[in-house]
Amino acid sequence: MKSETLSQASGQQTQRQLLRYGGEHYSKIAGVAVILLVIVFSQISSSAYVYDADIAILAAIGAIGLNLLTGYAGLISVGNAAFLAIGAYSVVLLDKSMPFPLPIFAGAAAASIVGFAIGLPSLRLSGLYLIFSTLALQFVVAFAANQYDTSSGAIAGHFVPTAKLGPWQIASEKVWFMVLLVVLVLVSLFVWNIVRGQPGRAFAALRRNEAAASVVGVNVTMTKLSVFALSSAIIGLAGGLGAYFMQDVSNGYYSLTLTVSYVAMILIGGLASIWGSIIGAFVVTMIPFLMQAGASTFSGTLGGFAQRNLSSLETAVYGLAILVFLFFRPAGIASLAKIKRRKSSAAEAVAAVR
């Protein structure tokens, strides 16, 4: 904030733009470097690790979708699990009648339409009402999924056949890794393009003050509805991809706990940050593995206690992590890098004025 006022006051607009574009170049280069490194590692490391990484990338796609809504537009939804379920069940229903990627897109479209419909009553109102309508959605979808599982005799879950893209089978963890990485990059670029342009500024205005946003010409209801529909579509896409990846869809998985883990991802990683969503998704999906490893290193009563309560301890760790980040670093892990950059650009702006 300070750096902005400084440079604006001095009329050094070009200087500021130069600094900003410099920053964007860095993040582009960093992005490409990270992607290349990750690809190399994925193809040489053991498939168990790659499987975990696949799960994390899937989570990252969903987390970006949620961050678009909560981080950028400042709306809270607890319907993530419901949208993931809509994506996954679309795949279950449509897989027999459509070739591979189409059921996923159909699932994304379905999630987006449901999001629009759910948002319609609540987004006319203040943002917090969305919590209630998405909570309602969660229960309605869980009920419908349960009914469907019971009526179709698939109480143990629906099997999803291996994805085939034309002649190629997408079966191994490493092939999935590449596919998921491509989707992650595409989704990231898509969201990044939205948030850095006019819609992004409208979201920011909305997040800070709805009334003020409407005064400067933001169509509050339409903006909220479209961001919610878009976010739901991305989460639905992640759900559909997840169904093909895990090859198993059952209603018990799409619980409120899953929803909370996505909230934890964006809070830990950083609100209003694409990198933050990705980092948060990796951290949160690694928590169970780390805790499993941690529990097995302790022996005796403590180790036994940890082993017995592993899933509760995991949940507690999500919760505690959210608390810690809310209190001490409300902008998440991604802000650690950002603050440094902002400080240095502020220093440079001051230097430019002098």
């Binding site: 109102l125 309508s133 229960f139 706990t257 505690l320 959210i322």
Partner: protein
């Protein structure tokens, strides 16, 4: 006719539970502008505290009730003072996330400390079944629940309406700044609001333990089931929460009686969606809540 009457009477204890939890939710929202998603888990925790005090530590029934409710009060006041007060002035979203985090931490804690088994709280004489005309029967426990909750809520209503404390509370909820000018310690009052709300929730937990049994999943079942009641009543209206609780419990009861047990939750949330579509301020909510 028999089924309808039996359903109506049978759902009154559920309505009483929703009312205890819902009224707490409303006064916390009015007093501190926090939507408390941990309300149901706090209720369950109250029940578990009672279970430990009464069953594990062998404290007689009534002293154990008092002790567990007092413990809930202290818990509520400390949650406000330690966790929410430092975040005063933060956005509503952040505060909601805080209560969501609190909800999952407390839920995990319940599971670790008390395990996954369902724990029952035995109340002396609870199983006695009383028969009424039209073939309606109800247990003595259910009658005691409805009467005691009605008494507690009436006492709270009197306190809120006619005592100095109550008028201070309403003043602070209406306009915290003006209340401060008038010499009211708003922050102490907010802590007391949390204490009262959590005590009510804790009492609901004790009752739930006696009627349904305590299980870790009951926390969200209790809290999230009471949300539609609160929205139906209008989010910032105490009386609305009461009436909403009765209406919701009855709708759920009739859905269960005539459609089947699995419809209980989903019907509640369909009601919530309908309220949001038709009249988001609920039956008695003020206009301003739509802008929150």
């Amino acid at each position: 006719m028999h089924l309808a009457l039996q359903t109506f009477v049978g759902q009154l204890p559920t309505a009483a539970l929703y009312a205890l939890i819902g009224v707490g939710f409303v006064i916390v929202y009015r007093g501190t502008r926090v939507l408390n998603f941990a309300q149901g888990t706090l209720a369950l925790l109250g029940g578990y505290l009672f279970y430990s005090i009464a069953v594990s530590a062998h404290v007689p029934f009534w002293p154990a009730v008092v002790l567990s409710v007092v413990a809930s009060m202290l818990l509520g006041a400390s949650i406000y003072s330690l966790m929410l007060r430092p975040l005063l002035g933060e956005t509503a979203i952040l505060l909601v996330m805080l209560t969501i985090a609190l909800n999952i931490i407390l839920g995990a804690l319940d599971l670790i400390l008390w395990g996954g088994a369902t724990r029952f709280v035995n109340v002396p004489g609870a199983k006695t079944i009383l028969h009424f005309p039209e073939g309606v029967s109800i247990t003595a426990l259910d009658i005691a629940v409805v009467i005691s909750v009605a008494a507690v809520l009436t006492a709270f209503g009197v306190l809120l309406k006619w005592s100095r404390f109550g008028s201070h509370m309403r003043a602070a909820a209406e306009n915290p700044l003006l209340a401060t000018y008038r010499g009211i310690n708003v922050s102490t009052l907010a802590a007391m609001t949390w204490a009262i709300a959590t005590a009510g929730a804790g009492l609901a937990g004790v009752i739930y333990g006696a009627t349904n049994g305590l299980a870790p999943s009951a926390g969200n079942a209790l809290g999230f089931a009471a949300f539609p009641a609160v929205i139906l009543g209008g989010l910032d209206s105490v009386g609305g929460a009461l009436i909403g609780s009765v209406i919701l419990a009855e709708i759920q009861g009739f859905a269960v009686s005539y459609l089947g047990g699995r419809y209980s939750d989903v019907v509640g949330y369909l009601v919530l969606l309908l309220v949001l579509i038709i009249s988001p301020t609920g039956l008695f909510g003020s206009r301003e809540i739509a802008r929150l």
